[in-house]
């Protein structure tokens, strides 16, 4: 994986912008940013906890050719897809998608940090959802709680006990899901077939692009 990182670095010597434009999904939008900062200020997660580099700054770093700084950044993984930035951007830059594109690219070339929580969430979510045709909430929660070990998982579960019981009482959570039971999708096979087709098409597209 890290070989791909070096390969890309060499291929786009001194032109990180071009690398992002060609390799990251929606990367061609980076050049359109006019540095107004509306995205950075609109982001609820950035605003409350502060990313190391918010979107507009990541775009500027890319344009300034700061490859290492961008690939080491945490910002693009922090996006919760609220789309505030996307709908407000005065340049109509699809900021949400660009951030995902950069995160995905960093992951693809092996530069995403291990155990990055949002990346872990999305991977787990994807596996969980595609397997069952719908999200198995209990299993998803378990895998998130226990990602940092059993002790941490139990601690987190205890913390959330009250909320969990409330949800069960309200009929919003089925404890049997832990065993793979509970709500199911009507046609799991059909969904799997659709996903397979989608993957096939995407692969074809990628091949055509390359």
């Amino acid at each position: 994986m890290s070989d791909l990182n070096q390969e890309m670095a060499a291929r786009y010597k001194n032109n990180f912008l071009k690398e992002i434009e060609e390799q990251a999904e929606m990367g061609e939008w980076v050049k359109m940013c006019m540095q107004c900062g509306l995205c950075s200020g609109s982001c609820p997660t950035n605003f409350h906890s502060g990313w190391d580099h918010p979107p507009q700054e990541i775009f500027m770093l890319i344009r300034a050719g700061k490859r290492e700084e961008v690939l080491n950044a945490q910002g693009m993984y922090m996006c919760t897809s609220c789309y505030n930035c996307y709908v407000r951007c005065p340049r109509k830059v699809p900021v949400t998608h660009v951030m995902h594109g950069i995160a995905e690219y960093a992951y693809r070339i092996g530069r995403a940090p291990k155990n990055q929580p949002t990346m872990h969430l999305s991977k787990t979510f994807w596996t969980n959802a595609t397997k069952h045709g719908r999200v198995n909430e209990v299993q998803l929660t378990q895998s998130l709680y226990f990602k940092d070990g059993i002790g941490a998982g139990i601690k987190k579960a205890m913390e959330m006990q009250k909320e969990a019981l409330g949800l069960v009482k309200a009929g919003r959570l089925n404890p049997m899901e832990a065993l793979g039971m509970g709500h199911k999708c009507k046609d799991v096979k059909g969904i799997h077939a659709m996903l397979a087709k989608a993957e096939e098409l995407e692969a074809k597209n990628k091949a055509a692009k390359a």
């Binding site: 107004c36 900062g37 200020g41 505030n84 407000r88 005065p90 109509k92």
Partner: protein
Amino acid sequence: MTSVVATNQTILVVGGGISGMTAALEAAETGKQVVLVEKNPYLGGRTVQLYRYFPKMCHPTCGLEINLRRLKANPRIQVLTLAEVTGISGDKGAYSVSVKLKPRYVNSNCTACGECGKAVQTEIADEFNYNLGKIKAAYLPSNMAYPQRYVIDPSIIGTPDAERAKAACKYDAVNLDDREETISLNAGAIVWATGWQPYAAEKIVYYGYDRFPNVITNVEFERLADPHGPTGGKILRPSDGKEAKNVAFIQCAGSRDENHLRHCSRFCCMGSLKQTHYVQEAYGDEGKSTIYYIDIRAIDRFEDFYQKVKANPNVTFVKSKVARITEDKAGNPVCNGVNTEGYIRYANAHDLVVLAVGMEPSVKGVQIPAEVMSDSSGFIMADPANAGIFGAGCATNALDVNRAVQSATAAALRAIQVVNKVARAEA
């Protein structure tokens, strides 16, 4: 029936703001016959609603007085107020134009003595002051209103209030039977100078203009600062009448934004820089202004003005497009965003937020009842095929007053070129 004398050598000017007045006056002072059509009951347009002009900090009515005197002294201009052009047919050198005239309910006998205003009880929203206050339903729109004649609001027609107005007038100037009429007139050339309107601020949802009383627009702020405005020139915030000593100005509210106005409205940077003076004028060193901006566009010699404001320790510049406005418990609007110069997050509470809303043509190209070329924002573009209809002022571009007047002067010549040709042909 209103009668207008017009021929194919007449120039029709649509819009009686500073651009339309200028085009009309320049043409008339060159010996041309002009008909000037204005939608409002008075001339002067938006400039009259400004407190001061940048960069001289002088008063718009000063120039208006001169223009009105030029107008009064010039028999070649016929003015139609409460009038709108509804149709244009024919071709350059021979247009036929229909003009809809709304009733004023007050005829030329009016001496502006004010008795009808005293008699009427109904109050209506004061449009001249951007609805920030109320006025009587029989009113003189402003001190400088021309024609200097009262207007009776249609809402009281048929009510006892209208009868009161009529009874109060000793000069038989109130005509409650006044009706809308449409007249048609000829013109050889047309100058379209319908000006601009402030962008509808409520469309910028994240600034909460329609939710937060202390978020207002730049044009409204002009009225607040004006001693003849609804607060008598005191800068008081709408929610509780508190003195607004800490004022934020948000640039590009609508402008330079593909979700709102594609273009840069040009005047708003200078407008806000000017308005920081109002805060300083009102509260001295206690008055603090913060300008949130993307680029300060103090173009050409206006740079001097920017540098002077920049040197004022009571004015802070933050390079940032404010991301959203919230309200704190004290009712203060809070500007949230990121200062992009060095990435500094902020949540600044202010007494009052002024949105520097941009300029859009008040009649967009497609709404003009004639064939004109316009750009994606609806501003009229010069037509290489050179018809006899010419844009002037802010109908053609986002312009400040000075440039709008230049544009109008140029438009007057273009119209004269057409009617001179007609004259040569008819000679």
